[in-house]
């Protein structure tokens, strides 16, 4: 991908109505996210915290992956680096061919607007906007007119099954519905990458399953690459791959297998199926 410096947003986002079907299968060796020897250190008072230490991994396009690990393991830090919200202290993060270290603050913001859709644990919808305007919010950063922004927001809401709740404000929606609106907001710009931070953390079991199912569908039906940070063992049944982190390190080999096993055991029946092959 060409660097973004000095490039304006395109007149139209590629999201079509209806949304396109599955993309042609990517070559086996294709890589969307390439994390190269990344470390992230920061100071908290007098202490230096090593949130991530020499982590390297690759994620292919069209995959649904999870970062799992105990609190303080570095999974949220890694998610922030992948989504261009933070910068590594060392190493390089390359997403869709773009080295994020080459971009300044404003260019990084523009890059996120174009290439990343974000989903948060607490939905974080704007309470004074209805569902349609909440979903259309990221489209304010494009050159699209109001009518087209609304049309695309309605399409995205149809994808998540909420096209009958267009004019509802967040406080009139259930938690599950709010999360679906947040998912619609994340896909409305048709991003290369969807990043979800504990998307089931504030939902009951039924809505959590529905949300995970919806994310799975986005990968299966529309070829979206999804990176999810989660504690939820149910996620194992929906994701293609799990990256286990502990104390800032990426677990590999037998350590990773032991971590997966521990999650399966802790979850009982929830994760009986394990991660998808």
């Amino acid at each position: 991908m060409a660097p973004l410096r000095g490039v304006r947003y395109p007149r139209c986002m590629p999201l079509a109505d209806p949304l396109p079907g599955p993309p042609p299968s990517a070559p086996e060796e294709a890589t969307l996210i390439d994390i190269r020897h990344v470390s992230r250190h920061y100071r908290r008072g007098v202490d230096e915290v090593h949130a991530l230490d020499d982590v390297s991994l690759r994620i292919a396009p069209g995959r649904f992956v999870a970062f799992m690990g105990p609190s303080g393991s570095g999974k949220s830090t890694l998610m922030n680096l992948v989504s261009g919200l933070d910068r590594p202290s060392e190493g390089e993060v390359v997403v869709a061919g773009q080295s994020l270290g080459d971009l300044d603050e404003d260019e990084l913001a523009a890059w996120r607007a174009r290439h990343v859709g974000l989903i948060f644990q607490f939905f974080n919808l704007i309470p004074v906007l209805d569902a349609r305007d909440n979903v259309a919010l990221p489209l304010l950063l494009t050159d699209l007119g109001k009518a087209e922004r609304h049309r695309r927001a309605e399409t995205a809401l149809r994808v998540v099954g909420l096209d009958h709740r267009l004019d509802h404000r967040p406080n009139t929606l259930s938690g599950g519905e709010q999360q679906r609106v947040a998912i619609a907001r994340a896909i409305v710009t048709d991003p290369d990458l969807i990043v979800a931070d504990e998307p089931t953390g504030d939902l009951d079991a039924k809505n959590a399953e529905a949300t995970l199912g919806l994310l799975r569908e986005l990968t299966d039906a529309f070829g979206k690459t999804i990176v999810m940070v989660t504690h939820d063992p149910r996620a194992l049944r929906f994701v293609d791959e799990v990256f286990h982190l502990d104390k800032g390190l990426l677990l590999e080999g037998s350590d990773a297998e032991r971590a997966s096993e521990a999650i399966r055991l802790a979850a009982g029946g929830h994760a009986s199926a394990g991660a998808r092959p």
């Binding site: 603050e105 404003d106 913001a109 996120r112 990343v116 948060f120 974080n124 004074v128 919010l137 990221p138």
Partner: protein
């Protein structure tokens, strides 16, 4: 423009708070606009009161010092002088012993009509005043205040001279802008002579009527030059300037009010800034999410600043409209009675409207600047960490 919906939605988020903030700004702008009409209003008032061909001549040392009465005659001889009349403070108290409740002067009865041709007297008043040495001419306002009518006799006890004068009202100045009483100078002069005080040889103020406005400046110089080496050097000024000096202290008061208003406006800036800061703080989660979605520093800064500016400018426009409505109402009220007349002099001009709107814009920009900058400059990951 595409952010207008977002800005308006955010302004409507806490309607009561927006209403109170707008109300405070509107009230401050209204107050500032009204006060800004005062200097121009006073100027108009002075213009209405004063003639541009009348000169006041008084002792250079101040109004409480006198000049020789003979100087009045010298002034009358000057080329370009149509008439001149001396006025001497009588300081007469009516009813309330020792207290002067209205200005009263001893004047040269035969000259007042020529110096004040613009005054409206009751028919025959000036002639009667000349004819009767105990006559008095009284301003309409005082006549009404005491319930006097032409023909009434009143006694004035002077607080300056050893003289109690029994005078007969022979006429009225039918003008509310002349709230004074004139007695005949000859009457006071003879009374003082009878009391063994040697008569009234002095003049307090000499009012001079000049034939053409363009000669006023030269004549003032000539009069002052004429008295320069005498015991009573004079200072001449136009009637407008003379009245303006009387209003001088009021203008100083207006300046103080304007300074206080500026300070009040500054307080409003702080209040509005506090409101804007609270609004930003309450929405820090949303702002963090917007930044995460890709809203850059300029977009965040612009929308937050637009909110504060829009609210403030809208409130300022209301304040300006309120000031216009109020001054128009005052103009209407001014027509209801002659004593209310001066209220009609205060007008919200285009300059005042511009200043009012500029003030509200300034309040908006200043109050929104700091919180908007703070929100825009905070790194996205720090903003997210603070709220999640």
């Amino acid at each position: 423009m595409k952010y207008a919906g977002l800005v308006l939605a955010n302004l409507g988020r806490n309607k009561l708070r927006s209403l109170f903030t707008a109300g405070a700004i509107a009230l401050a702008v209204l107050l500032v606009c009204l006060l800004m009409t005062m200097p121009a209003g006073l100027d108009r008032l002075i213009s209405d009161l004063g003639s541009n061909t009348r000169i006041s001549v008084h002792n250079k040392a101040g109004l409480v010092y006198s000049m020789p009465q003979s100087f009045t005659r010298k002034v009358r001889q000057l080329d370009g002088v149509l008439a001149a009349v001396s006025m001497t403070w009588f300081g007469g108290a009516y009813e309330e012993e020792g207290r002067v409740t209205f200005p009263n002067f001893a004047v040269e009865a035969e000259h007042v009509g020529s110096v004040y041709p613009d005054y409206v007297f009751t028919p025959g008043a000036v002639d009667e005043f000349v004819r009767h040495r105990d006559g008095a001419i009284v301003g309409r306002k005082i006549m009404r205040q005491y319930g006097w009518k032409v023909g009434d006799r009143i006694t004035l006890r002077s607080t300056v001279w050893p003289a109690n004068l029994d005078v007969r009202i022979v006429g009225e100045i039918a003008d509310d802008n002349a709230p004074m009483l004139w007695i005949n100078r000859t009457y006071l002069d003879e009374t003082l002579k009878a009391a063994g005080r040697g008569g009234l040889g002095i003049a307090g103020i000499i009012w001079v009527r000049v034939d053409r406005p363009e000669r006023v400046g030269a004549l003032m110089s000539e009069i002052d030059e004429m008295s320069r080496n005498s015991e009573s050097p004079t200072a001449s000024e136009t009637e407008k300037s003379f009245i303006s000096n009387f209003f001088g202290s009021l203008k100083g008061f207006v300046t103080i009010i304007l300074i206080v208003t500026a300070l009040v406006s500054l307080c409003i800036v702080f209040i509005a800034a506090n409101t804007a800061s609270m609004a930003v703080r309450e929405r820090s989660g949303e702002i963090a999410v917007m930044k995460a979605m890709g809203f850059g520093r300029r977009a965040i800064f612009g929308t937050l600043l637009a909110e504060a500016t829009l609210l403030s400018t809208f409130a300022g426009a209301l304040g300006v409209a309120g000031a216009i409505a109020l001054t128009r109402a005052l103009k209407t009220v001014a027509t209801l009675g002659p004593t209310l007349g001066p209220l009609g002099n205060f007008t919200v001009t285009n300059d005042v409207v511009t200043a009012g709107l500029a003030l509200s814009l300034f309040v908006g920009l200043l109050s929104g600047l700091v919180p908007a900058l703070g929100a825009a400059r905070k790194p996205v990951v720090d903003a997210l960490r603070e709220v999640f």
